[in-house]
């Protein structure tokens, strides 16, 4: 089956077809969606986090001092408000992804936010996860990988998630003055930085490299109420050796040296290989051919990690059609693709009240295996199709496909028309034969949305 570029690009590089927008005509139309994803009209920022943090402190102290009914109510109110932040973020992200005509930029936001996974560990820092995406990922979508790496590694959300904020040089001034606290290094950020974010787990580095890297970064940390990101009194004294180069030491600029180290990690050939393969796995196939990876790796190396160059190589990739439907849509992609295919109004979705949005989006996504902002580990969401199309995961998709359309659309669309809207020329003969035989419109629509045709890309 030959598939023309617009359909292929919409399904594989974006969030699928929509009756309200034509698919992107060419590579330029796909790439034009990247700058659109770079900013939000109302971004979430560290200022939001600081405001929440301060409000929380005030209320908590008031309640500790006097456990009165009004204080208790205020405490509960702020806690409930904070607990809702991830789902509000989800609705905003669904709307944003559904509304874009090409969607490639939002797919990249999803990819990079997952590559640099952060997770909140308490109510107060829920908002940090959204701030991380809006401050570290989006603005760096069209720059060099090195710029995104630096923004992500130094963002407070990452410092908190990978336990770096308490990491203190064992011989630092701060630690020596407080021997009773037994302060020391935490290697988590250093390890994930090389293992997940740059070189990759198979690359040629040692435990000594990880430790030296952790020591180099000891000064980096933040206070919820301030702007400062570097605390010299916590830094381990002396120069550190990483992959044969020396960083830091007497008289050097602490953050400057950390940034120089990140630039070198970004430029490392192992990083180019690791990230090229990861892009191929995400966009093309769970098991991409060496040739497919090489196309991206060449673009990466030739451009020194210039992301727009790499995106172009991906959009024009010779295996884009040959690997069609080798990937399963993750639950977020599946849901956005359904919102688009059904032609739902993204703003109506975004503005849903708490109860229906939990029933229709937040809880179903959890059942499908993708609780928003809660991946299990720093390696982010799984990529392989069989991790998602499990009995539980598929049952949740079928249930949702049966329930959701009727909650938004009255009357329901004719399934035969929806079939064309959702899948264009890519409908398989089996699905084309099955849909008209469904007993009701609701079941016909569910067959389309639950089909392998629709759940693969």
């Amino acid at each position: 089956m030959a598939i023309d570029f617009p359909e292929l690009a919409a399904i594989r590089l974006g969030y699928g077809l929509s009756p309200n927008q034509p698919p992107p005509a060419d590579a330029a139309a796909v790439l034009a969606s990247v700058p659109r994803a770079q900013s939000m009209a109302m971004p979430t920022t560290m200022a939001d986090y600081r405001r929440d943090f301060e409000r929380w402190q005030v209320i908590r102290k008031a309640q500790e001092k006097a456990d009165t009914a009004p204080n208790r109510a205020a405490f509960q109110r702020i806690r409930q408000g904070m607990a809702q932040k991830p789902e509000i973020d989800l609705m905003r992200r669904i709307a944003r992804a559904a509304i874009d005509p090409a969607g490639f930029g939002e797919r990249l936001v999803q990819f990079w936010a997952d590559h640099f996974t952060v997770r909140s560990k308490n109510f107060v820092s829920h908002v940090l996860v959204s701030a991380f995406v809006d401050e570290a990922i989006r603005p760096n979508l069209s720059g060099s990988f090195a710029d995104m790496l630096k923004a992500a590694t130094t963002h407070p959300a990452m410092l908190l998630y990978l336990d770096h904020n308490g990491s203190t040089g064992p011989n630092s001034v701060f630690a020596r003055r407080r021997p009773e606290r037994r302060l020391g290094l935490n290697e988590n950020l250093a390890r994930e930085l090389v293992e997940l974010h740059t070189l990759g787990v198979g690359a040629d580095y040692s435990q000594t490299d990880v430790r030296e890297l952790a020591e180099l970064m000891t000064g980096m940390g933040f206070q919820p109420t301030g702007d400062r990101i570097y605390r010299p009194d916590r830094a381990e004294p002396g120069a550190e050796q990483l992959l044969g180069r020396s960083y830091g030491g007497r008289g050097t600029d602490g953050m400057g040296e950390i940034r120089r180290m990140l630039d070198d990690l970004a430029r490392h050939p192992a990083t180019a290989s690791h990230l090229s393969r990861k892009l191929a796995v995400h966009f093309l196939s769970d098991d991409p051919s060496p040739d497919a990876v090489a196309v991206l790796e060449t673009a990466w190396r030739d451009s020194d990690g210039n992301l727009p160059t790499i995106y172009r190589a991906l959009v024009e990739h010779p295996e884009l059609e040959a690997t069609f439907r080798q990937k399963a849509r993750q639950p977020f992609d599946f849901i956005v693709a359904a919102v688009r295919a059904l032609g739902l109004d993204p703003l109506r979705v975004q503005r849903m009240e708490q109860k229906p949005r939990r029933r229709d989006f937040v809880n179903p996504m959890r059942r499908m295996g993708q609780a928003w902002q809660q991946p299990v580990g720093p390696d982010g969401w799984a990529e392989r199709a069989d991790d998602w199309i499990s009995p539980q995961g598929l049952a949740a998709r079928i249930d949702w496909a049966l329930d959701l359309p009727g909650r938004f659309l009255d009357p329901l669309p004719d399934p035969r028309i929806l079939l064309k809207q959702a899948l264009g020329s890519t409908v398989s003969p089996a699905l084309a034969a099955a849909v008209p035989r469904a007993e009701s419109e609701a079941e016909g629509i569910a067959l389309i949305l639950a089909s392998a045709d629709f759940n693969r890309r």
Binding site: E64, R119, E192, R367, A371, I398, A434, A452
Partner: protein
């Protein structure tokens, strides 16, 4: 619901395909590893062990807890003259009398001092200390245990519910299922799904299994014991391990009111397992564990804050219960951890390890090196009958 047709169809298809889905194969029953059942319940939010298992015989308790943990005089149920059971677990007293309920009063994971729910739960489910690389903390101890069980298949272990269970995550195949999946398909829709998935083994097998599970259910999928009912139904089949979590234990304020529904749910879940498992209850061990305990002192809001040592609850016909197992560290001057928390006297992982050794014949060397890296299992606490 008419499901036979779909299952039959997908089963036939699986038989012809190269990679037959394990759930569809027919030679599996004999390969199930043994007859013992293990249920692990993760109590998310840090259960207050001192309120659940009240050490009213400790002279320091009353001063630490003016309103909470009142002992038998305040309605708790005396167990052994020293400890009393929280009144909301009263329905479990027959199990205590039958030797099917036991407690370990003062245990913890190796997690110390930072007292974050998320990190504490991660370590509890990973079964590691903080000193191992993060990569090792990304799989759960139950999954690593499964990897050492000859004959274990996907159906052998179930993570139940919609919360992510790190406990069973990892390379070994395990099932996850949420009993609120409904799949209300007409027979025609089910047939048509069978048609459209026919040539895609991944979708065909996943849907076949899902429909099979739903049609075997039949309990109230939204009731308070839906998860435990479902666990029992699978454990009566080929499953031998089930894990799920219960929330509602983070009792910073008004603990007397807040803890009640959480305890009732726990009690109802254990009783549902017991009645659902029927004769198999005699081969079952339930471990209910939490990420850490709570402060020994009551706070100003009638609650307790994040602490260290906490209680482990065991139930089941396979345990030697009706007793409190392990030492009591005391609540007096100098006996608390950091002058604020119950002192843990043993690693909670040791009890989980001894359960795996006793129920599934897991080798001690492997348990201490791979399932719970760095753990010293110590002496056998003799918790199984």
């Amino acid at each position: 619901m008419a499901t036979r047709r779909f299952v039959l169809k997908s089963g036939l298809a699986a038989a012809c395909s190269v990679a037959a889905h394990p759930l569809m194969s027919t030679v599996t029953f004999a390969a199930a590893p043994g007859d013992h059942r293990l249920v692990v319940i993760i109590l998310r939010g840090a259960m207050d062990g001192l309120d659940v298992l009240q050490p009213y015989g400790d002279p320091a308790l009353a001063a630490l807890r003016p309103s909470l943990s009142p002992g038998p005089d305040g309605g708790a149920l005396d167990l052994d003259g020293f400890f009393a059971l929280h009144a909301s677990l009263g329905d479990l007293m027959p199990l205590w009398a039958a030797g099917e309920l036991a407690f370990v009063p003062a245990v913890s994971t190796p997690y110390r001092d930072k007292r974050s729910h998320f990190d504490g739960q991660d370590l509890l489910e990973a079964g590691t200390g903080e000193d191992v690389p993060l990569a090792m903390q990304r799989s759960g101890w139950l999954n690593r245990a499964l990897q050492g069980m000859p004959g274990a298949r996907a159906e052998t272990a179930y993570a139940i519910g919609t919360g992510d269970m790190l406990l069973l995550s990892g390379p070994a195949p395990a099932m996850s299922w949420s009993p609120d999946a409904r799949l209300r398909l007409s027979p025609q829709a089910e047939r048509l799904l069978g048609d459209i998935y026919h040539d895609d083994p991944l979708f065909r097998n996943a849907a076949g299994s899902a429909i099979e599970i739903v049609s075997g259910g039949g309990s109230d999928a939204r009731g308070p014991t839906a998860v435990a009912d479902f666990a029992a139904s699978r454990l009566n089949g080929e499953a031998r391990i089930a894990a799920f979590s219960l929330t509602g234990w983070d009792t910073h304020a008004r603990q007397a009111q807040v803890l009640r529904p959480a305890l009732s749910r726990l009690s109802a879940s254990i009783l549902a397992l017991r009645s659902g498992l029927g004769p198999n209850w005699s081969k079952t061990t339930v471990l209910a564990m939490t990420e850490f305990g709570r402060t020994a002192r009551e706070n100003g809001s009638g609650g307790t804050d994040h602490g260290t040592g906490g209680a482990l609850l065991m139930a089941g016909g396979a345990i030697r219960g009706g007793r409190v197992i392990g030492n009591w560290p005391g609540l007096g001057e100098g006996q608390l951890y950091a002058d604020r928390d119950l002192m843990p006297v043993r690693d909670v992982r040791a009890y989980a390890a001894w359960a795996l050794a006793g129920l599934f014949g897991q080798d001690r060397g492997r348990l201490e090196a791979e399932v719970f890296p760095g753990l010293d299992m110590g002496a056998d606490p003799g918790m199984l009958s």
